[in-house]
Subunit: 332 residues, 6 copies
């Protein structure tokens, strides 16, 4: 997950994404020749998993003068507690004040995605999960979304860009769309098998047109040992994918002699539903998670100035001065 190029756009560096109030504050301070050394702390309002801190570090490295600066942070992929300080920056205010908006935003969105992925990983209890969140967020953040999901524990992701950022191989089975366009599952599976290079695993989506069990046995008969597995994504209007369906399909595949064909599950999954599969010991090879990860709410982070030229300060309602957190390590 190292040495990837950070996702820092030119718009961000120019401050176009910042609040105009910060532009004005910096202009006033410049006019008044005020540029104190401040300590600013960033903390979340609920527990979660940290992501995006490496991008933040790169941003600060480019802008803070080397002398006198001090940046402390938790590691990427760490768990954090409610109100725990995850980043502390010391430096001249003028050098980084404008980026308060962006740092908050990077941490908020990234932690939201990473935390949602971690919830699925915990519920899956050892079964791999794959992020299919790309359909549910603006394409401008698909890459960081999938990178954050992998940071939170996902084994892989569906977007090409996300996989590149996270240093994993993108994951994708046969698309249901291919079945619709080819007209039936049989033709789609044959075409997939004929055209894909051998290193792409044959996982056939079943139940798009006909009954899941009938199609699964049909494609098993066609591809035999070349078939790695079948994927279920039965629509909610047809009962969705349930532990009962997985158990039944497993029994029917085994009775037909296809014990080697694994079952992959996707479609409207969330941690609660994944937990049900775990609780009922349904034999699932991997879970694909779309909306729960891609559409995860950002976690709110707050930035607070806690020291001003060495003196403890705080807004009314907060404790002045630096907050102790032995888990922080110095990164700049």
């Amino acid at each position: 997950m190292t040495n990837r190029e950070p996702e820092i756009s030119r718009a961000l560096l120019l401050g176009h994404t910042a609040d105009i109030a910060l532009h004005r504050a910096l202009e006033i301070l410049r006019n008044e020749s005020i540029n104190p050394e401040v300590v600013m702390e960033f903390s979340p309002e609920k527990p979660g998993v940290l992501a995006g801190i490496n991008d933040v570090k790169t941003l600060l490295n480019r802008n803070l003068p080397e002398t006198g600066r001090e940046v402390w942070a938790l590691d990427e992929a760490s768990s954090f507690d409610e109100n725990e300080v995850v980043l502390r920056v010391r430096g001249p205010y003028a050098s980084f004040g404008l980026y308060e908006t962006a740092i908050n935003g990077i941490l908020s969105s990234s932690a939201g995605w990473a935390t949602a992925a971690r919830e699925c990983v915990d519920a899956a209890d050892g079964v791999p999960i794959v992020s299919l969140g790309a359909h549910h967020v603006h394409p401008s953040v698909v890459g960081v979304m999938d990178y954050s999901a992998v940071t939170g524990g996902a084994s892989s992701c569906s977007s090409v860009l996300g996989a590149r950022l996270a240093g994993v191989t993108a994951s994708g089975t046969m698309a249901a769309t291919l079945v619709i366009i080819m007209g039936d599952t049989r033709s789609a599976v044959e075409a997939f098998d004929r055209n894909m290079p051998p290193e792409v695993q044959r996982v056939a989506v079943v139940g798009t047109i006909g009954d899941e069990a009938i199609e699964a046995i049909e494609v098993s008969r066609m591809l035999r040992d070349r078939l790695r597995g079948v994927r279920l994504e039965t629509a909610q209007t047809r009962g969705g994918v349930t532990p009962d369906l997985v158990h039944e399909l497993r029994a029917r595949l085994d009775q037909a002699g296809y014990n080697h064909v694994d079952i992959f599950v996707s479609g409207d999954l969330d941690p609660e539903k994944i937990q049900a599969f775990t609780d009922e010991r349904a034999p699932v090879a991997a879970f694909g998670i779309g909306f729960h990860i891609g559409a995860a709410r950002p976690i709110k982070f707050q930035a607070k100035i806690k020291e001003l030229e060495g003196r403890p300060v705080a807004r009314r309602g907060f404790v002045p001065g630096i907050t102790l957190n032995p888990r922080l390590t110095r990164v700049l």
Copy 2:
């Protein structure tokens, strides 16, 4: 809100943000020389407000061949119902199949933000609202977030880029950070007044250091007629901003002769809290909304192929064929 340049990145056009399964499906179809005319429909799973459709139109315009294509859509900023078709695309599958991920993502995120803003607008019952959501999303989408908020009904927004995309003036009062750095509200207000051009409204944040009412009367006495208003963003740890506080502050300002000084409210607002101000007729000049808009969950959209070479089709669990929707208009 017209003729702005759409937010379509090169990564998107190259398909880097698409699911790898779609790349593979297109490769197979190409090898098999299959490129049918399809009709694909996009519909949301719950009601909301549409945003981003203009960007989608631009994307399709660039990629669909002019002959034979047909694109029908709801207007930007329209309300939509659960499961209502908001976009229908007819054309050769190979020309736009890869963008299914991106179209879904643009609509999902944009509608999420626009709908959240609309909820606030409805609750505010005529009082303007301003998006302060930039702190809560990744900077790569700050611009589209604020554009979507304005599409949903916000009067303005805090980010420079968002304001440019939406064609409004960015909005920002004096930052509380300025007060912390200057050491007290009085100095900060003086500096703000001294350094800002006359067209920037003087709205002083009060309650950052001392009592809201004491500071409000103090800054009123300093700026007199030049003061446009005061902004409250009292921390939750000190009771937050409530209708009672606004009523009390209004009474104290009026008793001191500062009837012209308006009260602006921000800090952890959501539609329910805004409704409380409306219900208790608290005299608020504008609401600033951060987390509820910026961290709004995307609304899930689904893409479905409904016709294939003129025949109605659908996945199992859905009604085959085009869905009637007289509200759609042809845009391409």
Copy 3:
């Protein structure tokens, strides 16, 4: 529903089904030469639909001396209120005291079944319902159960005996068991069509082995105009039968040109689920109801002596004397 032979067994007439305490009370009174004229009233503890009153009337007619007796009752199939008197018997206690247990039992069970059927009829809003309750009650009461269901408003029932008692034609489509034994839906439908006389409607159960829509279109193609309809009873483990499924199947049948093929629905239905079909205007030709009718709880009835030789009496806790009810008519 008229002139059927009542369901009064010899065991009942001999008092074998009565409480032994009543046998003893009657023996004591006989020894003491006490046989007062009493008025006994029967009333339910919650609202419902009356059934079985004709059997009760027959029982009383056989046992009460013609002189001096007076029996007042609501009509079979009437609605009754909580605590409303539905039956009032005047006569010498020794002539009918032993049958208190049986009268209570007939009314309780029969009203339970009739009320459950009425609830389904009300929810179905004009669509016929058929009782399939025979699987869920002891065979000794299958006949009165189905008779009561028809009394409550069911159009027909599945048991041969119930249909005879109720004076309707028994109703039954192709059994799913036939599909299992023949091995596939196609063969079962062919055999059904080949062997059943023309007056038996061809309604094919679909979804027993494969997908409902695929099988429905297959059997429509086989039987064409001879096919009256298809019946859905998808298992809960596969999502059950839902309004969405009916809508989808209707659309697929219509697109294939089989507008004349009706859809029948069964499987774990209750009034709430039926209401959902009604609310979503799902095009259902008839509902088959098993457990909700067959396993309906009896409604509790209480028998109370309210007059003794012309004087008002009652147990402690109840108002002495006859309860006025203008809805009663004299039947004996």
Copy 4:
């Protein structure tokens, strides 16, 4: 509980209580000369207590050919789990297919009554319970109802027929009706004592006309050592029977020197109310239970063909093949 004659009516044997769909299926198979060996399994949809299995065994014994048949079952009065197979039948389908309706119905109703009785027995924690359910079910099933209640653990029952089927002595104290007809409790008790043979226990119902404690002491003074106990069945409109009332009555009887007079409790009892008596250690000699047992809902059983000529089969939605259950024993 052995060698009683089973409750199998002629209507049942002729198939009059069966679904007409089964009659038709059997006719078709006969015409087509199809009569495969099948394995059919019966399982409940929730936990409970088994009853009626002996009647089912008798029915199968009469109809299955001796060669090749195999019947496995749990023992009468066993507890069973949700979805546990309680009966497995192997044989030619034509020999028993028609009885699927009846077997399901016998097991459903009987298990419903037995389970309700068991719930009371468990709550009573050693204090005997007596079924008074005869008032609440159709007289055609009073016998099997009381037999099932005893199978579930009741010590006795009120109906003459039920007691004969279950091999116990019917149980019944003085009827409240006797008090109403005689005009007061004193006269009724005297008549009861005068006319009943010595082996019938003297248990006087008290509180029918006057206060429970006053009447209890009055009848104790009358019958002295001959009085076995008093029975309470205070109406709900007068507060019902509660643990407090039992404690108070016990104390007043003891203070008057009638420690030998036991207290029997009846009237609207269910397991929750019985539990309250147990929890508060109310000195109760026996509980009489009417509606909770008599009006118990049947427990739903499902019959499923799981093997066809030796091959595992199942409807869509269920696991094909025989379900292992080591608790079954072979009964035929």
Copy 5:
């Protein structure tokens, strides 16, 4: 309810019941020669009924100098709203500051009792209610409690002192204790009838020893036209007094020819239970209410200085200056 002597004790006048902090504040102001004219307002934190204001007026009349004082108040027995000003006092602080504690306390307790009584009156819908609250409060406030209950709408009260303060006749039927001591209801009623002067109404408590209906008819037969009514206060352990019991007793009295005997109800009543009698049209002559009135919680009142030497002031969190309330009238 006029010209009674107010309940102002010597301890109160000397300030012994005041907070010591007020003693100290007054001492400091005296030493500093500060005695400004202030306006103090008293308002409740929830709606209710005012009582005790006459005592407060007397207290202020004794202590405020006649010149310059101004006292505005709502009338005794008025309803008031949440936060409505019910009393406004203008005068030199030193003359009444010490009594802030007592005024708050008088209004809080008195309004608590009056409001509880009003709730019962509203629920009784025209049937008189009588306060029996004396058992549930300290004897030092029994008088003001019962006076407040009458102010809230009670027709009478049980305490001798309360009746004198409220200017009504004390109300009390035959005590159940008399029955216990005399040994039975019959003897107690005879003694009551023999010894009480004719102007004391004969209302016999029934159900203390035996059944309510039996005793009611017995005492009716004894006193005939001299019997005004019977009172029910059945213990909760025997089911309490319910609308059903009243209906039954009414029917039994009427059948016995005692239509003139009214039914009085007491025992654990509150507005919800009274409402049930009203809703079910139970023929009750009067309700006796103990705990709900006597143990009513005080309603919190707050005293706030709103003007100081003519200038509007207030604590932080409250609106400075006099609160308009056109319902106030000047009383001093």
Copy 6:
């Protein structure tokens, strides 16, 4: 807490606060020359803390003849259980029957206050609590209220009379009223410090006019070592006093070098809120409790005659005879 003069008024001794029904019962018994020895027991309907028993003892000592009397009671300040007998009186009925109302009332009110105080003490977990309840009850019971609060565990109370009855020093910090009248906190604190004798602790109320932290540091700077602490009573309209506020104020005082200044908390506290301070380890020196103690509901006590001339008796619904309670000790 010993040898104080009990709170027994002349009105009480004359029976003016008693129910008129008891006056009449005693008059009847006198006329009939009936004066049996009775045993009367008093018990509460829910658990709590006993107070007022000493006053009751004094009352009985004055009225019961020395010969033959027997009084058993729990100790003042004991905890009692639901329905536990806390007082048993044996003596001639005529000597104390009239005081049943008063004894119930004394115990009910006093136990209500003591129990409420105990709940606060338990939640405070070692931090002292002070009763500020005097504002919320009628001045006629302010003394016994504060005495009961101390009996329940409060360290002190605010009323002069309560402190005298309880044998403690009255407790009160600087009144907020003083701040309002002096115009600002600074002047009020100076005047307090100037005029109060040295033994009165300097505890300044802060936040009345301005921000709590600013005022706290200001008064600390003024009084330095003479300042014992600051008291918070922030209005609910400004967020109330919360653990967060206390932690913040503590940090700000410590940073300014005022570690010796303690924090006292008051304002709308109840056990739940106190528990929150305890749970979050907020450094509070003492809690002041007003409404929860002063406006505590009385606990219902019932008086029951359980023996009459040596025979066990009871009303219907209760167990006759003396209730065993080994915790009682003989006090007269």
